[in-house]
Amino acid sequence: MSEQLGTTPSQTVGPFLSIALPWPDGPDLVAGGSAGAVVIEGVLSDGNGEPVPDGVIEIWQADPNGRFPHPDDPRGPVRYPGFRNFGRCATDAGGRFWFRTLVPGRVPGSDARLQAPHADVTVFARGLLRHLVTRVYFPDHAEANGVDPVLSALPQREREQLVAIAEPSGALRFDIRLQGEGETPFFAV
């Protein structure tokens, strides 16, 4: 066995991440006006419920057919035209972030069972020494959400927290609370 190299430790993005991390096209996984486009929006807040204005949220998800443009997917890499599976949005002064995306398709789990449509979510901020990971699920997929292997492993209350809320505007709301009342469930990956 070859000698293992120690991994490089994580450090905080600090307060000045906006020098480098925001991209003009960051929040757009699809262009505005694309058929089927949905907006996911939310507020990142701290243990006092105050907005976090120096954070960055990233999402990574399958395309509407449940595929990834990636060679490690044993089903083969597939690129969905006009769609980037990744989004990045810095929070604004009110802690707000948003993405314009397409609802992902269902993706296999470790066996024949399909996972519910979901996006993996990464949270960076000043004050976070290591990024946090959570998942967002979609409210119109109650049946799939009910049998999702990741959701099913959580207590009922936490399952509900990971499902975005449909707003009258048509947007999907997914707030992220770092600590305290309504703290978002986070995962070790």
Binding site: M1, E3, Q4, L5, G6, T7, T8, P9, S10, Q11, T12, V13, G14, P15, F16, I19, A20, D46, G47, N48, E50, W60, Q61, A62, F68, P69, H70, D72, F86, V107, P108, G109, S110, D111, A112, Q115, A119, D120, T122, R126, G127, L128, L129, R130, H131, L132, R135, V150, A153, L154, E158, L178, Q179, G180, E183, P185, F186, F187, A188, V189
Partner: protein
């Protein structure tokens, strides 16, 4: 069921002490921003073992030279930072994007939130981008950043550092970190550097002076290798041995 099992790569867990605990009271900004509930376990399924494959496609010409901005040359000690991006098995991570940001030679960031009385440099943005080559090598040219004060504790100063953001090839490999400079006298009082519990891991954040990277009559060289999580040693451990 064997024929329907998806055999996916899995990424190795880092040894305890490799990464900071988000609940690190010495770093005051962490107080209201660390979760109190234990982390749930996310298995490595398709979404976690894939990830965005950003590389040279996100780098524009000149992005790897931070010493020149807005029509002029930044002041300070010109340096070349180079190294390799590897996984913990020692395999290079090819064509992967590195995004960097940093303070200028006087220790000031080009950001409205940084108002301490050190001068801004009209020719320094602090933003760099580059990508690794086929063997995992990267290199960029910049200005050696200065140390700067902050309000964390009495007479608190951050050691000079450059922020790095990397994707690797999988969601599970995502890393944002900071590169430090050798023998910085400010390490002892810095709660961010010292938030990494394991001393050997902490030292992996410190670059080395590299005379072979130093360029005659031009720039001093520093070497810094970055190691991302690699594959788990026994990828199918715990799964039924029925294939």
């Amino acid at each position: 069921m064997a024929e329907t099992m998806l055999h996916l790569p899995r990424y190795a867990a880092d040894p305890p002490g490799t990464h900071p605990d988000n609940d690190s009271p010495e770093y005051r900004s962490s107080a209201l921003r660390h979760p109190n509930r234990p982390l749930r376990l996310l298995p490595h399924l398709l979404t976690e073992i894939t990830g965005p494959l950003f590389g040279q496609d996100r780098v524009r010409p000149g992005d790897d030279d931070v010493t020149w901005w807005d029509g002029g040359e930044a002041v300070g000690q010109r340096i070349i930072v180079r190294g390799r991006v590897l996984d913990s098995d020692g395999r290079p991570v090819p064509d992967t994007l590195l995004e960097t940001w940093q303070a200028n030679a006087g220790g000031r960031y080009r950001h409205t939130g940084d108002q301490w009385p050190a001068p801004l440099d009209p020719h320094f943005s602090g933003l760099g981008r580059t990508a690794t080559d086929a063997d995992g090598n990267y290199q960029f040219t910049t200005i050696r950043p200065g140390a700067y004060p902050w309000k964390n504790h009495d007479n608190a100063w951050r050691p000079a550092h450059i922020h790095f953001s990397l994707f690797g090839r999988a969601f599970a490999q995502r890393l944002v970190t900071q590169m430090y400079f050798p023998d910085d006298p400010l390490f002892f009082q810095d709660p961010i550097f010292n938030s990494v519990p394991d001393e050997k891991a902490r030292r992996r954040m410190v670059s080395a002076y590299d005379h072979s990277a130093t360029t005659d009559t031009w720039a001093l060289g520093f070497r810094w290798d970055i190691v991302l999580r690699g594959p788990a040693q026994t990828p199918f451990e715990g799964e039924p041995d029925d294939v």
